[in-house]
Amino acid sequence: MKTIFLVDDSTTILMSLGDILTKAGFSIEKASDGEAALTKLKGGLKPALIITDLNMPKMNGIELIRSARALPGMRFTPILMLTTESQQAMRDEGKKAGATGWLVKPVAPDQLLGVIKQVLPGS
Protein backbone atom coordinates (compact mmCIF):
# COMPACT_ATOMS: atom_id res chain seq x y z
CA MET A 1 0.00 0.00 0.00
CA LYS A 2 1.50 3.32 -1.07
CA THR A 3 1.71 6.19 1.41
CA ILE A 4 0.51 9.70 0.60
CA PHE A 5 1.66 12.53 2.86
CA LEU A 6 -0.98 15.26 3.26
CA VAL A 7 0.19 18.66 4.52
CA ASP A 8 -2.44 21.33 5.22
CA ASP A 9 -3.28 23.67 8.09
CA SER A 10 -6.97 22.91 7.62
CA THR A 11 -8.20 20.03 9.76
CA THR A 12 -11.19 19.53 7.50
CA ILE A 13 -9.00 19.22 4.40
CA LEU A 14 -6.77 16.68 6.13
CA MET A 15 -9.81 14.68 7.25
CA SER A 16 -11.81 14.82 4.01
CA LEU A 17 -8.95 14.19 1.58
CA GLY A 18 -7.51 11.62 3.99
CA ASP A 19 -10.79 9.69 3.91
CA ILE A 20 -11.10 9.94 0.13
CA LEU A 21 -7.58 8.64 -0.42
CA THR A 22 -7.96 5.94 2.23
CA LYS A 23 -11.07 4.67 0.45
CA ALA A 24 -9.03 4.67 -2.76
CA GLY A 25 -6.59 2.27 -1.10
CA PHE A 26 -3.75 4.52 0.05
CA SER A 27 -2.09 4.78 3.43
CA ILE A 28 -2.19 8.35 4.75
CA GLU A 29 0.24 10.43 6.81
CA LYS A 30 -0.69 13.98 7.87
CA ALA A 31 0.97 17.21 9.02
CA SER A 32 -0.66 20.58 9.78
CA ASP A 33 2.20 22.85 8.64
CA GLY A 34 5.41 22.82 6.63
CA GLU A 35 7.67 22.65 9.65
CA ALA A 36 5.90 19.61 11.12
CA ALA A 37 5.96 17.97 7.70
CA LEU A 38 9.70 18.53 7.32
CA THR A 39 10.30 17.09 10.79
CA LYS A 40 8.46 13.92 9.78
CA LEU A 41 10.40 13.66 6.53
CA LYS A 42 13.67 14.13 8.37
CA GLY A 43 12.49 11.48 10.82
CA GLY A 44 12.51 8.89 8.04
CA LEU A 45 9.05 9.13 6.52
CA LYS A 46 9.28 8.03 2.87
CA PRO A 47 5.96 8.76 1.21
CA ALA A 48 5.24 7.82 -2.38
CA LEU A 49 3.61 11.22 -2.88
CA ILE A 50 3.31 14.53 -1.02
CA ILE A 51 0.26 16.77 -1.40
CA THR A 52 0.80 20.12 0.27
CA ASP A 53 -1.09 23.37 0.75
CA LEU A 54 0.64 26.66 -0.09
CA ASN A 55 -0.31 29.07 2.68
CA MET A 56 0.45 27.54 6.05
CA PRO A 57 1.80 28.82 9.35
CA LYS A 58 5.47 28.41 10.34
CA MET A 59 6.54 27.20 6.89
CA ASN A 60 4.62 27.55 3.63
CA GLY A 61 4.34 24.98 0.87
CA ILE A 62 7.04 26.46 -1.37
CA GLU A 63 9.57 26.47 1.46
CA LEU A 64 8.60 22.92 2.36
CA ILE A 65 9.23 21.75 -1.21
CA ARG A 66 12.63 23.47 -1.31
CA SER A 67 13.64 21.91 2.02
CA ALA A 68 12.23 18.48 1.12
CA ARG A 69 14.08 18.37 -2.20
CA ALA A 70 17.34 18.85 -0.31
CA LEU A 71 16.71 15.72 1.78
CA PRO A 72 18.27 12.42 0.68
CA GLY A 73 15.88 10.22 -1.30
CA MET A 74 13.37 13.01 -1.82
CA ARG A 75 14.66 14.40 -5.07
CA PHE A 76 12.27 12.50 -7.30
CA THR A 77 9.31 12.06 -4.94
CA PRO A 78 6.26 13.65 -6.61
CA ILE A 79 5.00 16.72 -4.75
CA LEU A 80 1.66 18.27 -5.67
CA MET A 81 0.56 21.72 -4.56
CA LEU A 82 -3.11 21.84 -3.55
CA THR A 83 -4.10 25.45 -2.97
CA THR A 84 -6.68 28.13 -3.65
CA GLU A 85 -3.96 30.19 -5.39
CA SER A 86 -4.37 30.01 -9.13
CA GLN A 87 -2.09 32.76 -10.55
CA GLN A 88 0.73 31.97 -12.93
CA ALA A 89 3.39 33.74 -10.85
CA MET A 90 2.81 31.44 -7.89
CA ARG A 91 2.76 28.40 -10.14
CA ASP A 92 6.09 29.41 -11.59
CA GLU A 93 7.51 29.81 -8.11
CA GLY A 94 6.19 26.38 -7.16
CA LYS A 95 7.63 24.81 -10.27
CA LYS A 96 10.99 26.46 -9.61
CA ALA A 97 10.96 25.13 -6.05
CA GLY A 98 10.45 21.60 -7.37
CA ALA A 99 6.71 20.99 -7.37
CA THR A 100 5.46 18.23 -9.66
CA GLY A 101 2.05 19.75 -10.26
CA TRP A 102 -0.46 22.42 -9.26
CA LEU A 103 -4.02 21.72 -8.19
CA VAL A 104 -6.53 24.46 -7.44
CA LYS A 105 -9.04 23.83 -4.64
CA PRO A 106 -11.64 22.46 -4.72
CA VAL A 107 -10.48 19.46 -6.68
CA ALA A 108 -12.95 16.72 -7.61
CA PRO A 109 -12.11 13.24 -6.24
CA ASP A 110 -11.94 11.58 -9.67
CA GLN A 111 -9.66 14.34 -10.95
CA LEU A 112 -7.43 14.06 -7.88
CA LEU A 113 -7.20 10.28 -8.27
CA GLY A 114 -6.53 10.74 -11.98
CA VAL A 115 -3.58 13.01 -11.24
CA ILE A 116 -2.29 10.61 -8.59
CA LYS A 117 -2.44 7.79 -11.12
CA GLN A 118 -0.40 9.91 -13.50
CA VAL A 119 2.34 10.74 -11.00
CA LEU A 120 2.23 7.31 -9.33
CA PRO A 121 1.98 4.78 -12.16
CA GLY A 122 0.58 1.47 -11.00
CA SER A 123 -1.33 2.95 -8.10
Binding site: M15, S86, W102, P106, V107, P109
Partner: protein
Amino acid sequence: MLHLHPRYHRHSLAYLRLLGMLVPLVFGMAWLLPFTSLFNALMLSGLVMVAGLLIIAGYWLWGRYRPTDVWFECSQTQIQFWQQLEVGWQRQAELMDSYQQVISQYQAPLDAVIQDTDKAAVEIIERTRELDRQAQALVEYLTSADFNALDLQDEIVKNTQNIAEIVDFIKDLPDHLARDRETVVRVTQEIASLKDTVDSIREISDRTQLLALNAAIEAAHAREAGAGFGVVAEEVKQLARQSEQATTAIQQRIIDAQQIVATGFSNEYDEEARHQLRDAVQVTAFINQLRDNYEDMRQFYKTLLMVSTERNRTLATEIVGLLSNIQYQDIVRQRIERLQLFNSKLTAVVDRLRTKYLQHDPEIGQEINDLYQLIEEFLANEERHMLVNTASDDSAGGGLPAIELF
Protein backbone atom coordinates in the same frame (compact mmCIF):
# COMPACT_ATOMS: atom_id res chain seq x y z
CA MET B 1 -18.65 76.96 -0.53
CA LEU B 2 -14.96 77.21 0.30
CA HIS B 3 -14.13 76.96 4.00
CA LEU B 4 -10.71 78.07 5.15
CA HIS B 5 -8.92 77.43 8.35
CA PRO B 6 -9.17 80.35 10.85
CA ARG B 7 -5.39 80.75 10.60
CA TYR B 8 -5.74 81.88 6.97
CA HIS B 9 -8.34 84.38 8.03
CA ARG B 10 -6.04 85.79 10.66
CA HIS B 11 -3.13 86.17 8.25
CA SER B 12 -5.36 87.86 5.68
CA LEU B 13 -6.52 90.32 8.27
CA ALA B 14 -2.92 91.09 9.28
CA TYR B 15 -1.93 91.83 5.68
CA LEU B 16 -4.94 94.12 5.27
CA ARG B 17 -3.98 96.01 8.43
CA LEU B 18 -0.41 96.44 7.11
CA LEU B 19 -1.81 97.83 3.88
CA GLY B 20 -4.08 100.04 5.91
CA MET B 21 -1.09 101.39 7.78
CA LEU B 22 1.15 101.90 4.71
CA VAL B 23 -1.42 103.89 2.76
CA PRO B 24 -1.81 106.65 5.42
CA LEU B 25 1.99 106.56 5.91
CA VAL B 26 2.67 107.35 2.24
CA PHE B 27 0.03 110.02 2.23
CA GLY B 28 1.41 111.37 5.59
CA MET B 29 4.96 111.57 4.17
CA ALA B 30 3.62 113.52 1.22
CA TRP B 31 1.90 115.81 3.68
CA LEU B 32 5.12 116.32 5.75
CA LEU B 33 7.38 117.26 2.83
CA PRO B 34 6.24 120.92 2.61
CA PHE B 35 7.14 121.39 6.31
CA THR B 36 10.46 119.60 6.63
CA SER B 37 13.39 118.25 4.68
CA LEU B 38 13.23 115.10 2.59
CA PHE B 39 15.65 113.36 4.96
CA ASN B 40 13.49 114.03 7.97
CA ALA B 41 10.39 112.93 6.08
CA LEU B 42 12.10 109.69 4.98
CA MET B 43 13.39 109.07 8.49
CA LEU B 44 9.99 109.62 9.93
CA SER B 45 8.39 107.40 7.36
CA GLY B 46 11.09 104.70 7.95
CA LEU B 47 10.42 104.75 11.69
CA VAL B 48 6.71 104.40 11.06
CA MET B 49 7.33 101.48 8.68
CA VAL B 50 9.64 99.71 11.19
CA ALA B 51 6.99 100.23 13.84
CA GLY B 52 4.40 98.81 11.46
CA LEU B 53 6.57 95.77 10.66
CA LEU B 54 7.15 95.17 14.36
CA ILE B 55 3.42 95.32 14.90
CA ILE B 56 2.80 92.85 12.02
CA ALA B 57 5.52 90.52 13.35
CA GLY B 58 3.88 90.75 16.72
CA TYR B 59 0.49 89.95 15.19
CA TRP B 60 1.98 86.99 13.35
CA LEU B 61 3.70 85.60 16.41
CA TRP B 62 0.66 86.17 18.51
CA GLY B 63 -1.54 84.61 15.89
CA ARG B 64 0.65 81.52 15.73
CA TYR B 65 1.08 80.95 19.42
CA ARG B 66 -2.00 82.66 20.81
CA PRO B 67 -3.83 80.77 23.56
CA THR B 68 -7.21 81.03 21.89
CA ASP B 69 -8.43 80.55 18.32
CA VAL B 70 -10.20 83.85 18.22
CA TRP B 71 -7.98 86.78 18.84
CA PHE B 72 -8.67 89.08 16.00
CA GLU B 73 -11.79 90.94 15.94
CA CYS B 74 -14.02 88.91 13.61
CA SER B 75 -17.52 89.14 12.54
CA GLN B 76 -20.09 87.02 14.36
CA THR B 77 -20.58 84.92 11.20
CA GLN B 78 -16.89 84.06 11.03
CA ILE B 79 -16.80 83.05 14.66
CA GLN B 80 -19.79 80.82 14.13
CA PHE B 81 -18.13 79.33 11.04
CA TRP B 82 -14.95 78.58 12.98
CA GLN B 83 -16.95 77.00 15.72
CA GLN B 84 -18.79 74.85 13.21
CA LEU B 85 -15.49 73.93 11.65
CA GLU B 86 -14.16 72.92 15.05
CA VAL B 87 -17.23 70.77 15.60
CA GLY B 88 -16.72 69.34 12.11
CA TRP B 89 -13.17 68.19 12.98
CA GLN B 90 -14.47 66.64 16.15
CA ARG B 91 -17.31 64.90 14.33
CA GLN B 92 -14.89 63.55 11.71
CA ALA B 93 -12.70 62.11 14.47
CA GLU B 94 -15.77 60.61 16.12
CA LEU B 95 -16.89 59.21 12.77
CA MET B 96 -13.53 57.53 12.29
CA ASP B 97 -13.74 56.21 15.82
CA SER B 98 -17.20 54.76 15.25
CA TYR B 99 -16.09 53.31 11.91
CA GLN B 100 -13.20 51.63 13.69
CA GLN B 101 -15.63 50.20 16.20
CA VAL B 102 -17.92 48.94 13.43
CA ILE B 103 -15.01 47.15 11.77
CA SER B 104 -13.91 45.68 15.07
CA GLN B 105 -17.49 44.56 15.81
CA TYR B 106 -17.67 42.13 12.91
CA GLN B 107 -14.20 40.71 13.46
CA ALA B 108 -15.52 38.55 16.27
CA PRO B 109 -18.50 37.17 14.29
CA LEU B 110 -16.15 36.37 11.41
CA ASP B 111 -13.93 34.45 13.82
CA ALA B 112 -17.04 32.67 15.04
CA VAL B 113 -18.01 31.81 11.45
CA ILE B 114 -14.60 30.20 10.90
CA GLN B 115 -14.84 28.22 14.13
CA ASP B 116 -18.47 27.20 13.59
CA THR B 117 -18.00 26.09 9.99
CA ASP B 118 -14.83 24.27 10.98
CA LYS B 119 -16.62 22.46 13.78
CA ALA B 120 -19.62 21.69 11.57
CA ALA B 121 -17.37 20.36 8.80
CA VAL B 122 -15.53 18.08 11.23
CA GLU B 123 -18.88 16.80 12.54
CA ILE B 124 -20.09 16.17 8.99
CA ILE B 125 -16.92 14.22 8.24
CA GLU B 126 -17.27 12.16 11.42
CA ARG B 127 -20.94 11.43 10.73
CA THR B 128 -20.07 10.54 7.16
CA ARG B 129 -17.41 8.16 8.41
CA GLU B 130 -19.99 6.53 10.70
CA LEU B 131 -22.44 6.29 7.80
CA ASP B 132 -19.76 4.68 5.68
CA ARG B 133 -18.88 2.25 8.48
CA GLN B 134 -22.54 1.27 8.93
CA ALA B 135 -23.05 0.74 5.19
CA GLN B 136 -19.86 -1.32 5.04
CA ALA B 137 -20.96 -3.36 8.06
CA LEU B 138 -24.33 -4.01 6.42
CA VAL B 139 -22.72 -5.33 3.27
CA GLU B 140 -20.30 -7.45 5.31
CA TYR B 141 -23.24 -8.81 7.29
CA LEU B 142 -25.17 -9.64 4.13
CA THR B 143 -22.09 -11.23 2.58
CA SER B 144 -21.61 -13.32 5.70
CA ALA B 145 -25.31 -14.24 5.69
CA ASP B 146 -24.97 -15.21 2.05
CA PHE B 147 -22.08 -17.54 2.83
CA ASN B 148 -23.99 -19.03 5.78
CA ALA B 149 -27.03 -19.47 3.58
CA LEU B 150 -24.85 -21.20 1.02
CA ASP B 151 -23.56 -23.63 3.68
CA LEU B 152 -27.10 -24.18 4.93
CA GLN B 153 -28.28 -24.83 1.43
CA ASP B 154 -25.54 -27.43 0.93
CA GLU B 155 -26.58 -29.05 4.20
CA ILE B 156 -30.21 -29.07 3.18
CA VAL B 157 -29.41 -30.58 -0.21
CA LYS B 158 -27.33 -33.26 1.48
CA ASN B 159 -30.07 -34.05 4.03
CA THR B 160 -32.71 -34.06 1.34
CA GLN B 161 -30.68 -36.58 -0.61
CA ASN B 162 -30.40 -38.76 2.49
CA ILE B 163 -34.12 -38.51 3.09
CA ALA B 164 -34.83 -39.27 -0.54
CA GLU B 165 -32.72 -42.41 -0.21
CA ILE B 166 -34.68 -43.39 2.91
CA VAL B 167 -37.96 -42.74 1.12
CA ASP B 168 -36.81 -44.86 -1.81
CA PHE B 169 -35.93 -47.57 0.63
CA ILE B 170 -39.37 -47.27 2.30
CA LYS B 171 -41.03 -47.36 -1.09
CA ASP B 172 -39.24 -50.58 -1.87
CA LEU B 173 -39.94 -51.92 1.58
CA PRO B 174 -43.30 -53.62 0.71
CA ASP B 175 -41.59 -55.60 -2.04
CA HIS B 176 -38.80 -56.44 0.34
CA LEU B 177 -41.34 -57.44 2.93
CA ALA B 178 -43.28 -59.54 0.43
CA ARG B 179 -40.12 -61.27 -0.60
CA ASP B 180 -39.14 -61.77 3.00
CA ARG B 181 -42.59 -63.01 3.77
CA GLU B 182 -42.41 -65.60 1.03
CA THR B 183 -39.07 -66.68 2.36
CA VAL B 184 -40.42 -66.89 5.87
CA VAL B 185 -43.46 -68.84 4.68
CA ARG B 186 -41.16 -71.24 2.95
CA VAL B 187 -39.10 -71.49 6.10
CA THR B 188 -42.30 -72.04 8.09
CA GLN B 189 -43.30 -74.76 5.72
CA GLU B 190 -39.90 -76.26 6.12
CA ILE B 191 -40.33 -76.00 9.85
CA ALA B 192 -43.77 -77.53 9.59
CA SER B 193 -42.27 -80.33 7.61
CA LEU B 194 -39.92 -80.87 10.52
CA LYS B 195 -42.95 -81.83 12.58
CA ASP B 196 -43.25 -85.11 10.68
CA THR B 197 -39.62 -85.76 11.33
CA VAL B 198 -40.19 -84.96 15.00
CA ASP B 199 -43.15 -87.30 15.06
CA SER B 200 -41.02 -89.99 13.49
CA ILE B 201 -38.36 -89.37 16.11
CA ARG B 202 -40.99 -89.47 18.79
CA GLU B 203 -42.29 -92.76 17.39
CA ILE B 204 -38.78 -94.13 17.27
CA SER B 205 -38.31 -92.98 20.82
CA ASP B 206 -41.52 -94.62 21.95
CA ARG B 207 -40.62 -97.83 20.21
CA THR B 208 -37.11 -97.67 21.64
CA GLN B 209 -38.57 -97.23 25.10
CA LEU B 210 -40.86 -100.21 24.49
CA LEU B 211 -37.93 -102.16 23.14
CA ALA B 212 -35.84 -101.25 26.19
CA LEU B 213 -38.68 -102.40 28.43
CA ASN B 214 -38.93 -105.73 26.62
CA ALA B 215 -35.19 -106.06 26.78
CA ALA B 216 -35.24 -105.44 30.52
CA ILE B 217 -37.93 -108.13 30.92
CA GLU B 218 -35.89 -110.55 28.85
CA ALA B 219 -32.82 -109.74 30.90
CA ALA B 220 -34.73 -110.46 34.09
CA HIS B 221 -35.70 -113.87 32.72
CA ALA B 222 -32.09 -114.62 31.92
CA ARG B 223 -31.11 -113.88 35.55
CA GLU B 224 -27.33 -113.85 35.96
CA ALA B 225 -26.57 -114.10 32.29
CA GLY B 226 -28.85 -111.23 31.39
CA ALA B 227 -27.47 -108.84 34.03
CA GLY B 228 -25.22 -106.99 31.57
CA PHE B 229 -27.90 -106.94 28.97
CA GLY B 230 -30.26 -105.44 31.56
CA VAL B 231 -27.82 -102.53 32.12
CA VAL B 232 -27.71 -101.85 28.40
CA ALA B 233 -31.49 -102.04 28.23
CA GLU B 234 -31.66 -99.45 31.04
CA GLU B 235 -29.26 -97.11 29.17
CA VAL B 236 -31.29 -97.48 26.02
CA LYS B 237 -34.39 -96.65 28.02
CA GLN B 238 -32.70 -93.51 29.40
CA LEU B 239 -31.72 -92.44 25.90
CA ALA B 240 -35.22 -93.03 24.64
CA ARG B 241 -36.56 -90.84 27.47
CA GLN B 242 -34.09 -88.04 26.75
CA SER B 243 -34.95 -88.30 23.07
CA GLU B 244 -38.59 -87.96 23.99
CA GLN B 245 -37.83 -84.81 26.03
CA ALA B 246 -35.76 -83.29 23.20
CA THR B 247 -38.48 -84.04 20.70
CA THR B 248 -41.08 -82.38 22.91
CA ALA B 249 -38.82 -79.29 23.25
CA ILE B 250 -38.26 -79.15 19.46
CA GLN B 251 -41.96 -79.45 18.82
CA GLN B 252 -42.67 -76.59 21.22
CA ARG B 253 -40.02 -74.40 19.53
CA ILE B 254 -41.54 -75.11 16.13
CA ILE B 255 -44.97 -74.07 17.42
CA ASP B 256 -43.50 -70.88 18.89
CA ALA B 257 -41.72 -70.06 15.63
CA GLN B 258 -44.89 -70.57 13.68
CA GLN B 259 -46.77 -68.27 16.04
CA ILE B 260 -44.08 -65.59 15.80
CA VAL B 261 -44.15 -65.69 12.04
CA ALA B 262 -47.94 -65.59 12.03
CA THR B 263 -47.96 -62.58 14.37
CA GLY B 264 -45.14 -60.74 12.53
CA PHE B 265 -46.87 -60.96 9.20
CA SER B 266 -50.34 -60.16 10.38
CA ASN B 267 -52.56 -57.64 8.45
CA GLU B 268 -52.17 -55.10 11.25
CA TYR B 269 -48.45 -55.07 10.67
CA ASP B 270 -48.98 -54.56 6.97
CA GLU B 271 -51.33 -51.63 7.63
CA GLU B 272 -48.85 -50.03 10.02
CA ALA B 273 -46.10 -50.34 7.45
CA ARG B 274 -48.29 -48.77 4.77
CA HIS B 275 -49.19 -45.91 7.14
CA GLN B 276 -45.55 -45.22 7.90
CA LEU B 277 -44.80 -45.32 4.24
CA ARG B 278 -47.47 -42.65 3.57
CA ASP B 279 -45.97 -40.53 6.36
CA ALA B 280 -42.53 -40.92 4.88
CA VAL B 281 -43.78 -39.87 1.47
CA GLN B 282 -45.46 -36.82 3.00
CA VAL B 283 -42.29 -35.91 4.87
CA THR B 284 -40.38 -36.16 1.65
CA ALA B 285 -42.85 -33.90 -0.10
CA PHE B 286 -42.65 -31.45 2.78
CA ILE B 287 -38.87 -31.48 2.71
CA ASN B 288 -38.87 -30.94 -1.03
CA GLN B 289 -41.23 -28.03 -0.58
CA LEU B 290 -38.97 -26.67 2.18
CA ARG B 291 -36.02 -26.98 -0.14
CA ASP B 292 -37.87 -25.12 -2.87
CA ASN B 293 -38.86 -22.39 -0.39
CA TYR B 294 -35.33 -22.22 0.82
CA GLU B 295 -34.03 -21.84 -2.70
CA ASP B 296 -36.49 -18.97 -3.18
CA MET B 297 -35.24 -17.42 0.04
CA ARG B 298 -31.67 -17.97 -1.03
CA GLN B 299 -32.37 -16.24 -4.33
CA PHE B 300 -33.98 -13.38 -2.42
CA TYR B 301 -30.87 -13.14 -0.24
CA LYS B 302 -28.70 -13.12 -3.30
CA THR B 303 -30.74 -10.33 -4.89
CA LEU B 304 -30.79 -8.42 -1.62
CA LEU B 305 -27.02 -8.69 -1.34
CA MET B 306 -26.55 -7.62 -4.94
CA VAL B 307 -28.85 -4.61 -4.53
CA SER B 308 -27.32 -3.67 -1.18
CA THR B 309 -23.81 -3.91 -2.61
CA GLU B 310 -24.81 -1.71 -5.52
CA ARG B 311 -26.48 0.79 -3.18
CA ASN B 312 -23.42 0.73 -0.97
CA ARG B 313 -21.23 1.47 -3.98
CA THR B 314 -23.45 4.43 -4.85
CA LEU B 315 -23.41 5.53 -1.22
CA ALA B 316 -19.61 5.33 -1.18
CA THR B 317 -19.45 7.52 -4.30
CA GLU B 318 -21.81 10.03 -2.72
CA ILE B 319 -19.80 10.00 0.50
CA VAL B 320 -16.62 10.72 -1.45
CA GLY B 321 -18.44 13.58 -3.21
CA LEU B 322 -19.61 14.91 0.13
CA LEU B 323 -16.10 14.72 1.56
CA SER B 324 -14.84 16.54 -1.50
CA ASN B 325 -17.34 19.36 -0.95
CA ILE B 326 -15.90 19.83 2.53
CA GLN B 327 -13.03 21.58 0.74
CA TYR B 328 -15.37 24.57 0.35
CA GLN B 329 -15.21 25.08 4.10
CA ASP B 330 -11.48 25.68 3.78
CA ILE B 331 -12.06 28.02 0.84
CA VAL B 332 -14.63 30.02 2.87
CA ARG B 333 -12.26 30.10 5.83
CA GLN B 334 -9.46 31.49 3.69
CA ARG B 335 -11.79 34.11 2.22
CA ILE B 336 -12.80 35.25 5.67
CA GLU B 337 -9.18 35.34 6.77
CA ARG B 338 -8.32 37.55 3.80
CA LEU B 339 -11.25 39.79 4.67
CA GLN B 340 -10.02 39.97 8.25
CA LEU B 341 -6.56 40.94 7.08
CA PHE B 342 -8.11 43.66 4.90
CA ASN B 343 -10.14 44.92 7.86
CA SER B 344 -7.11 44.94 10.08
CA LYS B 345 -5.20 47.16 7.61
CA LEU B 346 -8.29 49.31 7.10
CA THR B 347 -8.57 49.81 10.85
CA ALA B 348 -4.96 51.01 10.98
CA VAL B 349 -5.60 53.63 8.25
CA VAL B 350 -8.84 54.78 9.90
CA ASP B 351 -6.97 55.13 13.19
CA ARG B 352 -4.40 57.38 11.52
CA LEU B 353 -7.23 59.47 10.02
CA ARG B 354 -8.89 59.75 13.39
CA THR B 355 -5.63 60.99 14.95
CA LYS B 356 -5.21 63.62 12.21
CA TYR B 357 -8.78 64.86 12.61
CA LEU B 358 -8.23 65.19 16.32
CA GLN B 359 -5.07 67.23 15.61
CA HIS B 360 -6.89 69.35 12.98
CA ASP B 361 -4.34 68.18 10.46
CA PRO B 362 -5.80 68.50 6.94
CA GLU B 363 -2.98 66.50 5.30
CA ILE B 364 -4.79 63.18 4.75
CA GLY B 365 -3.59 62.54 1.21
CA GLN B 366 -1.36 59.66 2.33
CA GLU B 367 -4.25 57.95 4.07
CA ILE B 368 -6.48 58.30 1.02
CA ASN B 369 -3.74 56.76 -1.15
CA ASP B 370 -3.30 53.97 1.38
CA LEU B 371 -7.04 53.25 1.24
CA TYR B 372 -7.03 53.00 -2.54
CA GLN B 373 -3.94 50.82 -2.41
CA LEU B 374 -5.57 48.64 0.19
CA ILE B 375 -8.62 48.09 -2.02
CA GLU B 376 -6.41 47.28 -5.00
CA GLU B 377 -4.41 44.77 -2.95
CA PHE B 378 -7.60 43.17 -1.69
CA LEU B 379 -9.09 42.82 -5.15
CA ALA B 380 -5.84 41.50 -6.58
CA ASN B 381 -5.60 38.98 -3.76
CA GLU B 382 -9.18 37.83 -4.37
CA GLU B 383 -8.45 37.42 -8.05
CA ARG B 384 -5.51 35.19 -7.18
CA HIS B 385 -7.90 32.96 -5.24
CA MET B 386 -10.68 32.95 -7.79
CA LEU B 387 -12.97 29.95 -7.37
CA VAL B 388 -12.81 27.34 -10.10
CA ASN B 389 -15.73 25.27 -11.24
CA THR B 390 -13.90 22.00 -11.74
CA ALA B 391 -17.06 20.08 -12.53
CA SER B 392 -17.82 21.89 -15.75
CA ASP B 393 -14.64 23.74 -16.59
CA ASP B 394 -11.09 22.60 -16.16
CA SER B 395 -9.65 26.09 -16.11
CA ALA B 396 -8.91 28.37 -13.20
CA GLY B 397 -9.11 32.15 -13.06
CA GLY B 398 -7.49 33.87 -16.02
CA GLY B 399 -7.88 30.79 -18.21
CA LEU B 400 -5.25 28.81 -16.31
CA PRO B 401 -5.92 25.11 -15.86
CA ALA B 402 -7.21 24.01 -12.47
CA ILE B 403 -4.86 21.05 -12.66
CA GLU B 404 -1.40 21.43 -14.12
CA LEU B 405 1.44 18.94 -14.10
CA PHE B 406 4.85 20.48 -14.63
